[in-house]
């Protein structure tokens, strides 16, 4: 089990928890998708796993070790990366500098860094082409590619993706999911939180539904295909 969430309670204030005892597993090399209506606590879940919020109860296990209480900047060393919601490039720095910062935790290992650059540039030729341009000058889709490339520089084993397609033009949305599908082929463990239920289900292996900070349904994706419309209708 790559990532295991046990009875997690998290809130911005003690009295009103956003997550009220959530249980969840992300299996090795599979795509686990968390869906739910607005305010279900999906993004809070990822932020809590990554150490931005302190859980008041429960535990977070990565590869069997508890990572509860770690700070966000220690997560890459644990083999977990997070794709933030919305734009997160460093716009005034070049594409290359952005990638270099993606390799911050391995910056002293020159050979490994060089290899990471080669791999990334092979996977995203457009980033190599524009490596000396400021990242802010890239198109919206290219910026998302850069963000994905940046968090995979150190080859983390588990990826947390927070609404990867939100705010993108419809044409680019497909590109992003194609890219995530490629990451799945490369056997990354992926835990994705998504508003775009239809697209997410297409690449999911396992689905969790959250509602009002609690588990609602879960199961392998096959069991969801027919029920999906009913579930989404419940939210409205």
């Amino acid at each position: 089990m790559a990532l295991e969430i046990v009875d997690l309670e998290v809130g911005y204030s003690r009295e009103v928890p956003i997550l009220r005892g959530v249980n969840l597993c992300a299996r090795d090399g599979l795509v686990t998708v968390v869906i739910g209506p607005n305010g279900a606590g999906k993004s809070t879940l990822l932020r809590a796993i990554y150490g931005y919020l302190r859980p008041s109860r429960g535990d977070i296990l990565h590869e069997g070790r508890s990572i509860r209480g770690r700070t966000p900047h220690q997560m890459l060393d644990e083999g977990i990366a997070l794709l933030l919601q919305g734009r997160s490039i460093f716009p005034a720095m070049t594409v290359e500098e952005n990638l270099e910062l993606g390799g911050w935790t391995i910056r002293r290992d020159r050979a490994r860094l060089r290899q990471a650059f080669e791999e990334i540039y092979a996977r995203f030729p457009v980033l190599k082409e524009r490596r000396h341009d400021p990242a802010g000058a890239l198109s919206g889709g290219q910026q998302r590619m850069l963000e994905l490339a940046r968090i995979t520089m150190t080859r983390p084993r588990t990826l947390l993706l927070d609404e990867p397609s939100v705010g993108l033009m419809p044409k680019l949305v497909d590109e992003v999911y194609e890219e995530i599908a490629k990451l799945k082929e490369e056997r990354f463990t992926i835990l994705m939180v998504d508003q775009n239920v239809k697209k997410a289900i297409e690449i999911a292996d396992y689905v969790y539904v959250l509602n009002l900070g609690e588990n609602s349904h879960h199961g392998p994706v096959e069991s969801f295909r027919d029920r999906l419309e009913d579930i989404v209708r419940e939210w409205l």
Binding site: H73, L82, M93, W104
Partner: protein, 301 residues
């Protein structure tokens, strides 16, 4: 008054050089403020007191120990770097853990409190006596008819060197890149493994060091006394407003611009009215170009 002397090339170049010397200080101070604002989002009102500590450092090294002025610059820079880091760890960091939406005002008020404490502690420890060093470097030379003292040249060149080194550091070292990344998107920097709490501490230290170096450099004009930081801090806020808050190249340009404008003002206006000029200039900038003179459209304020 005979206005034609303004066109006299000798006076013109003399004033420009004077302006560049003053501007060196404004630029250093302004970069320090901008750095701290850009990285931590703090408008640091205690910046003038960091300047003040720098003047005392220089006095100690140059007048008490009798060492060369470059030692004083280094000493001031190092002392203020650690003072700045201590301030960040001891005061700013606890506030950050508490404050939320009012961060900008709350942190500003915190630095006001700090200014009052440092200023009056200096008064208790050192008294109000002015401790100056009349000349750091004696001698002068003449070039194309204008006289340039070695000291002024040294101030100008040292400031240029400090700005240059800072540029290289921020631009090309790993730590410099992490600092820029944190200023542009702190949360993203954190997800990539950068310990932003450490970057904040170093950033405040760097900003304070620049103020300290400015104070040390200018000791012949601003002798060490507890409230010496007031004019410099007023001017450095003017510089960051003209240059655009958080915009470092803007602060450099605005620093030298303000220095030259003031050199002319001193020549043309009576002593008292120069003091009115800078605040008035800033009010005008705020009316017509609140984002600063050197801000490119679309950059953050």
């Amino acid at each position: 008054m005979d206005w034609s002397i303004l066109l006299d090339p000798l006076i013109l170049s003399e004033l420009v050089f004077q302006g560049l010397v003053r501007g060196s200080m404004y630029a250093l101070m302004g970069i320090g403020l901008s750095l701290i604002f850009g990285i931590l989002g703090i408008v640091n009102f205690a910046h003038g007191e960091q300047f003040m500590i720098g003047t005392y450092c220089m006095y100690f090294v140059a007048a008490v120990l009798g060492l060369p002025f470059i030692a004083g610059i280094l000493f001031a820079g190092v002392v203020l770097f650690f003072v700045g880091m201590a301030i960040e760890r001891g005061l700013v960091e606890p506030l950050r853990r508490r404050a939320g939406r009012d961060w900008l005002v709350d942190s500003f008020v915190l630095t006001i409190g700090l200014m009052v404490v440092l200023q009056n502690l200096a008064q208790i420890v050192f008294g109000t006596r002015r401790r100056g060093v009349t000349t750091l470097l004696p001698g002068s030379f003449e070039i194309a008819g204008i006289t340039i003292t070695y000291e002024r040249l040294a101030i100008f060149l040292t400031a240029l060197a400090v700005v240059g080194l800072l540029f290289l550091f921020i631009r090309f070292t790993a730590l410099g890149k992490a600092i820029r990344a944190t200023a542009q998107h702190a949360e993203a920097a954190q997800t990539l493994g950068i310990d932003i709490a450490r970057i904040y501490t170093i950033g405040f230290g760097l900003g304070a060091a620049l103020a300290g170096i400015a104070g040390a450099l200018l000791i012949s004009i601003f002798p060490a006394f507890p409230t010496v930081g007031y004019q410099p801090v007023l001017k450095s806020f003017a510089v960051v407003i003209i240059g655009g808050l958080g915009n470092i190249p803007g602060a450099i340009a605005a620093g030298y611009l303000l220095g030259v404008v003031e050199a002319y003002a001193i020549f043309l206006l009576s002593a008292g009215w120069q003091a009115v000029l800078t605040p008035l200039l800033i009010v005008l900038v705020l009316i017509f170009r609140p984002q600063g003179l050197f801000t490119v459209q679309g950059e953050r304020p």
